[in-house]
């Protein structure tokens, strides 16, 4: 298998979308193009909105990813865990496909005896360590997220720390929704490290609608743009910081 790139959208939100396309459909659209959608639902101590939780689960389900709801305090740990588990899940899917071909059966890893399963797992692990990872982070900045943004910032710095300990390369990109004039606004173009995020976050002024669906659609196009620009983005080490 060639050195693969894993593409993920990481959506951080605290509630229901209320504008534009159905985010569940948009997540399915991403999945069709090999992009996994993971969702972190940030909940308060107050009674949580049942519909919001359902939407969170459904986006991840149709986006082929993982969803997890957390209290703000556990966010850092959860964000890196979800990203990593989703990577493993993707890789395992790839390996399972290969296995099906080899075994010529419609069965996956579960049908193997435990010892062989262990060997397959070792391959998945190795791939997870060396694969290139591209994560587009989508942060909900509607009014209710205001108090949670400092924690989001911490969690994203932590994610960059975890992922950069791997041998494979990483690229992160950060967008917020709603944007100032559009549904989505890119804050940070593809970059291997998220350190510059600290200054960007302090300038945010949360408010407005929650256009989750349009944000996912826009995110998909960011992966495309990246490809077409690769030609002149030398090495990928440089990044462009968009004004807020």
């Amino acid at each position: 298998m060639k050195q693969g790139t894993i593409k993920q959208i990481l959506l951080l939100t605290d509630g229901c979308s209320n504008h534009g396309e159905d985010p569940v459909a948009m997540a399915a659209l991403a999945r069709e193009q090999g992009i996994t959608v993971n969702v972190i639902g940030m909940i308060d101590d107050q009674a949580t909105d049942e519909r919001g939780l359902q939407e969170i689960d459904q986006i991840a389900l149709s986006g082929g990813g993982i969803s997890q709801t957390v209290f703000a305090k556990q966010l850092s740990h959860t964000v890196q865990m979800v990203t990593r588990q989703a990577m493993t899940q993707t890789l395992q899917g790839v390996v399972n496909e290969q296995l099906k071909k080899i075994l010529n059966k419609d069965t996956g890893m579960e049908s193997l005896p435990p010892d062989t399963r262990g060997e397959v797992m070792e391959v998945v692990d190795e791939l997870g360590e060396t694969a290139n990872l591209e994560v587009l982070i989508l942060v909900d900045t509607s009014a209710s997220m205001k108090s949670k943004l400092p924690t989001v910032k911490e969690a994203l710095l932590d994610l960059s720390l975890s992922m950069n300990a791997r041998m494979g390369s990483n690229l992160f990109s950060l967008s917020i929704f709603p944007g100032k004039r559009k549904d989505t606004e890119q804050l940070l173009d593809w970059t291997p490290k998220l350190d510059s995020l600290t200054s960007l976050f302090s300038k945010l002024s949360p408010g407005g609608l929650t256009p989750t669906g349009p944000a996912i659609r826009e995110a998909i196009s960011q992966f495309k743009k990246k490809r077409s620009r690769k030609g002149w983005l030398s090495g990928g080490d440089e990044y462009i910081e968009k004004s807020v």
Partner: protein, 319 residues
């Protein structure tokens, strides 16, 4: 996939049959639940054992680590792996593995019962085990007192959760924030010896701060201050601080210095104790001296009588 808790419950007397190796295990009782796994005390073909259910990924990964541990000569840190199989139960197919049952209190409970003078000694044991593990190319990762069990006597430190063990050079995947140097902004999450040594120092800190504490903006300075504040850690503080700063390149280097500081601890006890110790010593010394004097007196008396007697005999003979 869902990351939520593994919920199922199995009662005493349930028999778990392995699909591949056809062993049977009789459930005795629940031993504990973690974030993902559930562990039961079972009776198997070789007697008592611990049987763990979890999601397929964790089970397989941990099984791999335990297998690798078995190849590491002289490391007794993890439990030995006895079996790995699938159980076709009413809940669907459940992957599980069976390991050695490790009995004893957790490190935190042990220190609570026996006192802080055990911290240094058990830390020595931990470092020795880590050295063997590192030499074999593995980093433990998720070291914390809840995962460490003191079995015995003779007391030996064992670890019951090997889920965080990572090949050297890769990225640490499982950690607990308080023990993670990334969280304290004291370094990367790369699996290297200094990662484990940082966590080992944090274990010592946690033992004297059972409530733990969260980080402020000072990073490692905060930890250094916390170490210095506790008199229980006074003797080993310089070693802990060096480990926090990532200055040890190997567990054995840290162990050597820890040993030196533990050996010299008896000489320079903390002030309050020292005074009473001195007084005690003085008392004993005076008493000893008196006894010595009395001995000398007896000796002198005996000699004097002997001399007098000899003189008497001589005079008798001469006259």
């Amino acid at each position: 996939m869902n990351t939520s808790r593994n919920q199922f419950n199995i009662g005493r007397g349930t028999v778990i049959h392995g699909k591949w190796h056809s062993q049977a295990y009789l459930v005795e009782r629940l031993l504990g639940r973690g974030a993902t796994g559930t562990v039961y005390l079972v009776n198997g073909p070789d007697g008592a054992a611990a049987l763990k259910f979890s999601n397929s990924l964790s089970i397989t990964a941990e099984m791999n680590v335990l297998k690798a541990f078995a190849k590491v000569q002289g490391s007794s840190l993890g439990p030995s792996l006895l079996d790995a199989d699938d159980w076709e139960s009413g809940y669907g197919v459940q992957p599980f593995y069976v390991m050695e049952y490790i009995q004893g209190p957790t490190l935190s409970a042990f220190i609570r019962m026996r006192g802080s003078s055990w911290i240094g000694v058990l830390l020595l044991q931990l470092l020795e085990n880590l050295q063997t593990l590192h030499e074999a190319g593995w980093i433990f990762g998720d070291i914390k007192p809840d995962n460490l069990i003191v079995s015995g006597p003779p007391f030996a430190l064992r670890c019951i959760d090997v889920g965080g063990t990572t090949k050297m050079g890769r990225a640490i995947k499982e950690y607990t924030e308080f023990f993670d140097r990334g969280y304290w902004r004291a370094g990367s999450r790369k699996a290297e010896p200094s990662y484990d040594l940082f966590a080992a120092a944090m274990v010592a800190i946690n033992l004297v701060y059972p409530e733990r504490f969260s980080r402020n903006e000072e990073g490692i300075k905060q930890l250094e201050a916390k170490v210095r504040q506790k008199k229980e850690l006074q003797a080993i503080a310089p070693v802990l601080i060096k480990a926090l700063q990532g200055k040890y390149s190997s567990a054995s280097a840290m162990r050597t210095e820890l040993l030196v500081s533990l050996n010299s601890e008896t000489k320079k006890k903390e002030p309050v104790n020292r005074r009473s110790a001195v007084r005690k010593n003085n008392g004993r010394a005076i008493y000893k001296q008196k006894r010595k004097e009395r001995g000398l007196f007896t000796l002198a008396a005996v000699l004097f009588i002997a001399v007098v007697y000899v003189l008497y005999v001589l005079t008798e003979l001469l006259i």
